[in-house]
Amino acid sequence: MSVIDFPKNTVLTFSEEEELFRESVREFCQRHIAPNWVEVDKRSEQNPMDIPVDIIKKMADQGLFCIPCSEEYGGQGGSYTMATIAMEEIAYADPSVALAVYALLNTGWPFALELFGTEEACQEIIPEVAAGRAFFGIASTEPQGGSDVAGLKTRAEKKGDVYILNGEKTFISGVGEVQKLEWGGGWFTLARTGGEGHRGLSAFALLARKNGELSDGWDPTIYEDIGRHGLTTGGFRLTDFEVDSKYLIGEENKGFYHVMEGFNLARIVVAAATIGASRWLLEQAVEWFRTRKLFGRNISSFQGVSFKFADMYARWEASRYFVYRASRLADKIYIEKDPSYKPLDLNVPVALAKNYGPETCVDLAEEVMKWYGAYAYTKEAPIFRAWLGPFSYVIGAEGAQNIMRLIIARDIIGRDYLK
């Protein structure tokens, strides 16, 4: 039973198919994810390579990866809004957001590959990702920083039909998964094929492992994260790593633009995951308010508590509008291919969603922990897991928060006035 009676909504509405899909994802998650998410987080905290392969397989069987990808590539043939709905529900069931992030990376980036990649690469990679046998995410961050994408240093030299890549990528999701899953996988990555700046970058599908065999010249490290343990983070060094030219994504030296479109797509579903985790947090708060008494009163009878809750609830509703506004726009551009909308139209709506969703979630988690008091500071109460996981998106995964602010300010005030 839903803890909160959410107000009726005539603005943020969903089609019958979308409602039915939400119900089906919710039922799947309540059956397979909600009862297991704490255990997954605990186990993977002890051993990051203890990857929940069984749950990943079940999610694949349920069609929760590659949601907007074409059926001819083994995708689900759904809309981006369908993907957004799925991520919200998965994160509601696993508010550490590990499984939602697994699903969203393996939805947003295969879809970006389908938009810009070669037919051969799509035929090879997307069906494996959709079936849960391979991971396909994003690898752009390097040791010198993640926000300065145009300044990245990994080089790709073309020799005949292959590119030879040398460099290093850090803070990359899925470094463990590509080693553990049956087929393997890799990332949508960027390397420098031309001169300095963003016009010298090309995008590639870099497969660290395929058909169960590791590629030469790929040297990985797994990091110990503070949260979201069910998904590995790591880095890797590339030493004379060969990439066949069929894995070049889009045109040479246009990779920056392709990856930015990919980031826009991925950020929508990242924000969706945080509103799902926030919904779980709101329910934890309301359940607590209905049982916890202090000084002989319900603790929510103190306005210091209830007014703060009202503020957080308002931020959650606003985040939800931002997220679905962006997903509907993505559908116009990439699914319906409506010529009235262009990829750049997504910049501000996506930045609003990515900025507001994660910050709301983390602030809410902090408040819920304070409302719970000392109990929330024990590992017995799982709330801290819904704080540390989404915090990765406030730190900067899939785009730093101040980069989101920069995008909003740049596009609303005008690029020339920010110089």
Partner: protein
Amino acid sequence: MKIAVCVKEIYNLEQVKIVRETREPILDVPKKLDDLSRNALEEAIKIREKLGGEIVAISAGSPELRKTIKEALAMGADRAAIVTDFTESSPESAALVLSRILEKDSYDLILLGDASSDDYSGQMASRVAETLDLPQITFVSEIREVSDGKITCVRDMDDYIEVVESDLPCVVSVTNEINEPRIPALKDILKASKKPVENFSLQDLGIEISRSYEIVENLAPAVDRKQEVIEGEAAEVAGKIAEIIGREV
């Protein structure tokens, strides 16, 4: 093998709230396919996977059924035949409507849930079988075999089980132990909207609904909690709790 599965739309009971003062239910909630209907449909899908054939979802309900029936189509029914101006919920009128729809085609097997989660009268299988003059097997927890015009089922009678064989066509009602219904994936949901739905009115079926009984009151049960407070040292309190549990359970 042509299988009809009678399914029922019910209020989403998880969302039904009760007015504390009056104990009246607030039924302003979405409807969904009943859980036992999904068990029946799952069993039909399993039979079709083995033997091939067609599954038709049959239902009678409110205009909202046009939406709810998509759940059955997404799960795997090939098509549906429904009545959407049926707002009565009496078992006898529901059985009559379902039987009239079933008579419009011929089926090898008619499956349905043993009861529905809302009023749980458990009469539908027997009433439909009687109206159509077909054999019936109720409380089925396993369908062991379907072949050569016969069906073999295991009936769960709580204290013992029965293995029953019947000629087809036959009406079979299933319990929730029989299977775990599949959850439709996105691809199935997208396909569901394209599947044919035949929509009849009560007038089309020549049925005039009459009530044989009246619902006088529909209230949640009153629960009086004892709210006993036990005070004292831990060991003493534990002893008292054990004593109360022994007395009450």
